[in-house]
């Protein structure tokens, strides 16, 4: 698989790939092949697909704890992503990162990040570096509705706006930060926060890849032209748990009705409806076989050697003292 493309079929392929990837990853959590669980991206696929379809290969993204969709849409190999989730030496990060840190620098994926908001300034720095080197690359920061309450993210909006940097701030408003509804967390509006820094900010239907793509294209064009950052708020619904541990816990923060109606606007269905049945079935089959191979690849990969547990701790090669020698 490669980066999401902006055709009807391309967008469908990506949303479908992410959906099925997540479902199969959840299965592997259940079987114990993925340890530590995942934050499923299910329901938000259109955002990653639409945004990444507006990018070039050499553009860069940063991602979040809920990052599989972004990483896949930007073109990481699903097999190596899955191998990473399964902690194998064949994984993107050689099994060192796992679900929340999947990174593929060759594909412009500067990494998922387990700290909410932490990726925002990294993105801004990457955008500055791009301009500094004379490139017209853009940098995209994906983050949730919870992240807009993080100081570092708000500081980052200021830096990006002040220095007119080529950044797309993509807020995935899925209604909740874990269990806290966005309305109990965000005073004012999300786009209002962008605008306060002079950043053009729009709200789009985050269940529709075409709507996201359209907004992303505008923002990318602005960024490449040197006209500075944009903020896109994508309204979506998280179909699944905040994290797979929720599958076992008895937590009530969304009513059954809400979840039911939230799931009605399904990115896969929405984009699927734009394809002829045969076309769709062909993509589905293709995706399935990609994922069959990915699962096989992931589970066949060797576990990393514990002797190398601290490999790469220092890029300079410094070897730390062990905890037990004396």
């Amino acid at each position: 698989m490669a980066r999401a493309t902006d055709t009807r079929v391309g967008l469908y392929r990506t949303v479908r790939l992410i959906r099925r990837f997540e479902q199969r990853a959840v299965d592997l959590v259940d079987t114990g092949d993925i340890v530590g669980g995942i934050h499923p991206y299910t329901g938000q696929e259109a955002i990653a697909a639409g945004v990444c379809a507006a990018l070039r290969d050499d553009d860069v993204i940063t991602s979040t704890h809920r990052g599989h969709g972004h990483v896949l849409a930007k073109g990481a190999d699903p097999a190596r992503v899955l191998a990473e989730l399964a902690g194998r030496d064949t994984g993107l990060n050689r099994g060192r990162g796992g679900s929340m840190h999947a990174a593929d620098f060759a594909m412009g994926i500067l990494g998922a990040n387990a700290i909410v908001g932490a990726n925002a300034p990294i993105t801004v720095g990457a955008a500055w570096a791009a301009r500094h080197s004379g490139s017209d690359r853009v940098a995209v920061s994906f983050f949730g509705d919870g992240a807009v309450n993080q100081g570092v993210l708000l500081e980052s909006l200021n830096l990006a706006a002040l220095w007119r940097l080529p950044v797309l701030f993509v807020c995935e408003n899925n209604g909740y930060a874990t269990t806290l509804p966005v309305g109990e967390a965000v005073a004012g509006t999300i786009t209002g926060r962008g605008e306060a820094f002079g950043i053009p900010s729009v709200t789009v239907d985050g269940a529709d890849p075409v709507a996201v793509l359209t907004a992303a294209r505008t923002a990318v064009r602005r960024a490449r032209a040197g006209d500075g950052p944009s903020l896109i708020e994508c309204l979506a619904y998280r179909f699944d748990a905040h994290h797979t541990w929720e599958h076992r816990a008895r937590m009530r923060y969304r009513s059954d009705e809400e979840v039911h109606s939230g799931r009605l606007r399904d990115p896969v269905t929405i984009q699927g409806a734009r394809l002829a049945d045969a076309e769709r079935e062909r993509v589905d089959a293709e995706v399935e076989s990609t994922l069959d191979e990915a699962v096989a690849f992931a589970l066949a990969g060797p576990h990393p050697d514990p002797g190398g547990a601290l490999d790469h701790l220092y890029a300079s090669g410094l070897r730390p003292r062990q905890g037990g020698d004396h």
Partner: protein
């Protein structure tokens, strides 16, 4: 007799302190729903003004707790992830800790910071697996790491009643521990007083947090050959130096079993103070994390960087076979 779990003990301590003192309130992310379980049921009992769900704004809500404390309240701030303490290091170490001295004794800041699930939770990888209690000890913020349900109850209760800021680490590895304790027997446990879990004559093992259970297991295993005393400081800072002196005075040998990084960790402090004050029969040893540890994702790598029973047993035997005979 109820089999009291560590988590339930924390939950019970919060409930009892909330009931006892109207100045106490709980603040944090997802505390109403009780995602980490420690606050489960409290919102229903005490209402949303005593169990306050905050947006993802750790810095602001930690500073907020300082302001509330300066106004006579006793906030308990829960953190879901240990590294969130890095985000609020300024607010705790540079503000809350310093108010009393800097105001010439006008003010006190009785805030409790509770980290539910510190250290590695296998599969949560580098940014969610730190055990930074030694950092707070260095800064001089009172720091407790309870090992058992009864101590979890008793130390959390005392932390809340203490007039200074206190960080309470509830190690992920201890959350599942259960005790045979009656609720009625739960009492406040003073800060700075250690506990000998198992008397012994030949070597003192200072074990911290969840490692106490492992130390006890190793002591049992080795019982035929070595008489191991397991000393649990319970409070990392202030440390019970006199308690340790009594133990080492008896055994003359010392091993520290500590889940923080080796360099400048509590293990270093215990060995340093021992070198200054105690007469040891043999060089002491540390069993801890390597210098500068970043916990890798893959389970086998994660385990490889954690201090474990084998490492402890090896260290005990080595310390025993070295040096002058008592």
């Amino acid at each position: 007799m109820p089999r009291l779990s560590y988590l339930k003990a924390l939950n019970r301590a919060l409930a009892d302190e909330l009931a006892r003192d109207p100045a106490v309130f709980v603040l944090g992310e997802d505390v109403r729903v009780g995602v980490s379980y420690v606050t489960a049921g409290l919102a229903g009992k005490f209402g949303p003004e005593r169990v306050v769900d905050a947006p993802l704004s750790e810095q602001a809500f930690t500073g907020f707790a300082t302001g509330a404390a300066l106004s006579g309240l006793r906030p308990v701030v829960e953190f879901q992830v240990p590294s969130l303490l890095f985000l609020v290091f300024e607010q705790i170490v540079n503000q809350a800790h310093k108010f009393s001295l800097m105001t010439g004794g006008q003010a006190c800041v009785p805030v409790t910071y509770l980290v539910t699930g510190s250290g590695s939770r296998t599969g949560w990888a580098g940014q969610h697996s730190d055990h930074p209690y030694s950092l707070f000890a260095h800064a001089g913020v009172k720091t407790v790491v309870p090992a058992t349900p009864a101590d979890a109850y008793g130390l959390l209760a005392t932390a809340i009643r203490d007039d200074d800021p206190v960080v309470v680490f509830a190690p992920a590895g201890a959350l599942g521990v259960r005790d045979d304790v009656e609720y009625a027997d739960l009492v406040a446990v003073p800060l700075g007083v250690g506990r000998v879990h198992r008397p012994g004559t030949q070597v003192t093992v200072v074990a911290i947090g969840h490692l106490v259970q492992d130390a006890l297991a190793v002591a049992d295993e080795l019982a035929a050959d070595v008489s191991v005393e397991v000393f649990d400081p319970r409070t990392v800072y202030p440390f019970d130096w006199d308690g340790l002196a009594a133990s080492v005075g008896k055994t003359g040998r010392l091993v520290v079993f500590d889940d923080s990084n080796r360099m400048c960790g509590i293990g270093a402090e215990v060995l340093a103070t021992a070198a200054e004050r105690f007469d040891l029969h043999a060089p002491p040893a540390r069993v801890c994390r390597p210098d500068g540890t970043v916990v890798p994702f893959a389970p086998a790598l994660d385990r490889a960087v954690r201090p474990d029973r084998d490492g402890l047993a090896t260290a005990i035997l080595k310390v025993l076979n070295n040096g002058r005979r008592p």
